[in-house]
């Protein structure tokens, strides 16, 4: 439980010596309660008091890690229930479920899907981060060889070992310890052994109980045994209960300020439905609220495109919208006669537009004026993307000196700007482009042909 200022004050030496940088012990206590300073700043505190305070002023939700090398992922560490209050920090990671009872074809299909879903969206590389392995046959060799096969075929995935059998858990943890796997399956009966395995290899430990109350007791026991690298599962295997679980565990940590549930949680969407589109709907809910690992049956492009995009949206910092630098950007081997397009400095828009220009294989220039960091219509509606700002960019970036072309392609959504821009920029002709950037490749080819004839 978090301590308030008065409770902290009672634990201080009350010398009012100012060595902590605060005028009085009370002032120090108040600041500490808000998380504005650290307990160690007071040199006169007893060790016991310091330990208690450090515990009480630690983040409400722990940040835990798994993985290896450049694929070490952080989970948890969230401080708010809604992204407008501050920001969400550690995005959820997607897992695809394998079962050692599955046939070869199924395994191969999932491996192929995992390997094909790998692309970049607004400078972020999108791929499945975790392969989850459930041991349902009880056959240790079979289980380990399945994991081996998948991690060898899918170079990016980190394994999540799912078993409640401590002997199998121990063997699998040892075999794959260098990958920093997640070990999932600590329960009421086996937790002491599971904790010792997790401790030995320093693994993130998935803890499972039939419901929130039982999980709460179990987590306390595990914490008492000194292990805190945990991932929580309160057992919900239908959408309603699982949603109740993730919301209330998060609220216990952040609203009740009870660190027993101050760990990230996992949602086994794969156990809640076999319908792929329903998985998409459920995973959407859990990205918004509040799962840190979302386990799916499979991942193909139809699932990935919405889910990774959503995750990217929800986990951008609301205080720092993604903006790109103004200027003139060269795509491909553009020369002074290549087509010139203009768009805005909102990163999302720029990356979509430049991606489509690249896909068209037509070398081109993209001009980015100061548009306030907004999308095309937002910038236009707020008066930031108009004839003046575009003309200014043409001058500032010395386009007339660099290029011979005097034609400017504008986004179709702001076709109304055509005559304004032509008035503002003498000698220039404005071409109205398509409304959606996806139609740009066809448009650019037609445009080049027309210009040639």
């Amino acid at each position: 439980m978090a301590l308030n200022g008065m409770e902290i004050y009672k634990m201080l030496p009350k010398k009012n010596c100012k060595e902590c940088g605060f005028p009085t012990c009370l002032a120090f206590a108040m600041k500490l309660a808000q998380g504005g300073t650290q307990a160690e700043k007071c040199p006169y505190m007893s060790d016991d008091a310091r330990a208690k305070l450090e515990e009480a002023t630690a983040p409400l939700m722990k940040t835990v890690k798994f993985g290896t090398g450049d694929r070490i992922y952080s989970l948890g560490g969230e401080t708010v229930l809604f992204r407008h209050e501050k920001t969400f920090v550690n995005k959820p990671r997607f897992a695809v479920m394998f079962d050692d009872g599955m046939n070869e074809d199924e395994v191969t299909k999932k491996i192929n899907n995992i390997n094909s879903v790998n692309y970049t969206r607004i400078s972020e590389e999108m791929f499945v981060e975790i392969a989850a392995f459930r041991c349902s046959t009880g056959d240790k060799q079979k289980f380990i060889s399945l994991i081996k096969k998948v991690v060898q075929s899918c170079s990016k995935v980190i394994p999540m070992i799912i078993t409640e059998d401590t002997e199998i858990a121990s063997a699998a943890a040892e075999e794959f310890s260098s990958l920093g796997p997640i070990l999932y399956g600590a329960n009421e009966q086996n937790y002491e052994t599971m904790v010792s395995i997790a401790k030995k290899y320093n693994l993130l430990l998935g803890v499972k109980a039939p419901d929130q109350a039982n999980l709460y007791d179990l987590v306390q026991k595990i914490q008492n045994s000194g292990y805190r690298e945990l991932l929580l599962d309160a057992g919900g295997r239908n959408l309603k209960t699982a949603f109740d679980d993730v919301v209330n565990m998060r609220r216990t940590a952040l609203l009740s300020q009870d660190r027993t549930f101050g760990y990230p949680s996992v949602a086994f969407v794969c156990d809640m439905t076999k319908d792929k589109m329903m998985e998409v709907a459920m995973a959407t809910l859990f990205v918004e609220k509040y799962a840190s690992i979302i386990v799916l049956n499979d991942m193909d492009y139809s699932m990935a495109l919405p889910l990774f995009a959503l995750r990217q949206n929800i986990y951008t910092d609301p205080q720092r919208p993604m903006r790109i630098e103004q200027g003139i950007y060269r795509i491909g081997q553009a020369d002074e006669k290549s087509p010139l397009l203009v768009t805005v400095d909102f990163a999302l828009t720029y990356f979509i537009v430049s991606g489509e220009v690249e896909r068209s294989k037509v070398p081109a220039w993209i001009l980015i004026p100061d548009a306030g960091g907004y999308s095309v219509l937002t910038a236009w509606a707020s008066g930031k993307f108009n004839a003046k700002s575009i003309a200014k960019a043409i001058k500032d970036f010395e386009v007339e000196g660099k290029l011979k072309t005097r034609e400017l392609i504008i986004p179709g959504k702001v076709a109304v700007l055509k005559s304004d821009i032509e008035d503002e920029l003498s000698g220039w002709k404005v071409i109205v482009g398509t409304r959606e950037a996806a139609a740009l490749p066809a448009f650019l080819k037609d445009y080049l042909q027309e210009r040639a004839s």
Partner: protein, 312 residues
């Protein structure tokens, strides 16, 4: 120390609004689907989008499903009802667009009147992309279908006076107030419309929508904030149910519109379109929408199951 399950009790409540002859929206005093906290109100409703003209611009997969019926909005609506049993039909008067068919308000009114005579489900009537044209269209349409509790999508800052006066006051229908992803704009427009004389129980709102991946974080955050203001701060000016025209946004983005020839590695185009629609719908429902508008029968089925499971 035993576990004490947390709970958030709010003083505010979303107003319950009845559309058509008995479809209830809103009424909740909790965050969306937080049945563990209290009364989650009416189940969110699902509507299907049809047009008054043939939807030439829709992806082929949708035209394969509806093409046979889509030359006649009444046939189209009946097909949707028979096949997917939605809670309401959204007729988008795309044909009114001054840049397109430029149909007259009278023609539009006749289409809606026919639908009203032929189907019993509530209608949500959406306009074209011209606010000015919508003002005259909505006025005529509202007059043609008086006292039906049909929803007019939407009144915006530029035309709320005409739309509010006709749909919300003179002819006994419901006004949807549409603003651009901003709590204060939503609040301001709701206030202006009520000051005009429209009763709050004859209003719903659309505080902005987009497809996942396309500025969707702003939509989520705006809706989170609107819902918290309505429930936690009991802000009566924001207690209207929210309706989200999901399909208007999701079918034009590249993930749905690119053919398999355009993007071979992306695979089946129809599946991509459904997944974008499903994710966007689930995404807005999870942050407070009381009704979503969809196109694909499969999306309707999935979102219905999603709602059923969360409200069971």
């Amino acid at each position: 120390m035993p576990y004490k399950k947390p709970s958030q009790k709010f003083g505010g409540k979303i107003r319950e609004v009845t559309i058509g002859s008995g479809l209830k929206l809103g009424g909740e005093s909790t965050l969306p689907f937080y049945s563990f906290d209290g009364d989650t109100g009416a189940k969110p409703a699902i509507g299907m989008e049809i047009w008054d003209i043939f939807p030439e611009s829709w992806p082929q997969s949708l035209k394969n499903i509806f093409g046979e019926y889509a030359h006649d909005p009444v046939k189209w609506a009946k097909y949707c009802i028979e096949k997917s049993n939605p809670d309401f039909i959204c007729i988008k008067l795309e044909g009114a667009s001054p840049e397109g068919n430029n149909k007259s308000p009278e023609e539009c009114a006749a289409v809606v009147k026919r639908l009203a005579d032929e189907i019993t489900l509530p209608l949500v009537i959406a306009g074209c992309d011209s606010d000015e044209k919508n003002a005259s269209v909505f006025t005529k349409v509202a007059e043609a279908v008086p006292d039906k509790n049909y929803v007019f999508l939407s009144a915006v800052e530029a035309n709320y006076k005409e739309v509010g006066a006709a749909a919300g006051m003179a002819y006994g229908n419901i006004v949807s107030a549409e603003s651009s992803v901003d709590l204060n704009l939503a609040k301001q427009l709701n206030i202006l419309i009520t000051q005009l004389g429209v009763k709050p129980e004859r209003m719903v709102m659309n505080p902005g929508c987009s497809a996942v991946g396309y500025g969707f974080e702003y939509v989520v955050t705006t809706m989170d904030r609107i819902r918290l203001a309505a429930l936690d701060q009991n802000d009566v000016t924001l207690q209207m149910p929210i309706i989200s025209p999901v399909s208007f946004e999701t079918w034009k983005v590249k993930e749905s519109a690119a053919t398999e020839n355009d993007m071979p590695e992306w695979g089946n185009q129809e599946a991509r379109g459904i997944a974008m629609e499903v994710a966007t719908a689930a995404g807005v429902l999870a942050t407070g929408s009381n009704a979503v508008i969809l196109r694909h029968p499969r999306s309707v089925e999935v979102i219905r199951n999603f709602i059923e499971e969360l409200t069971a």
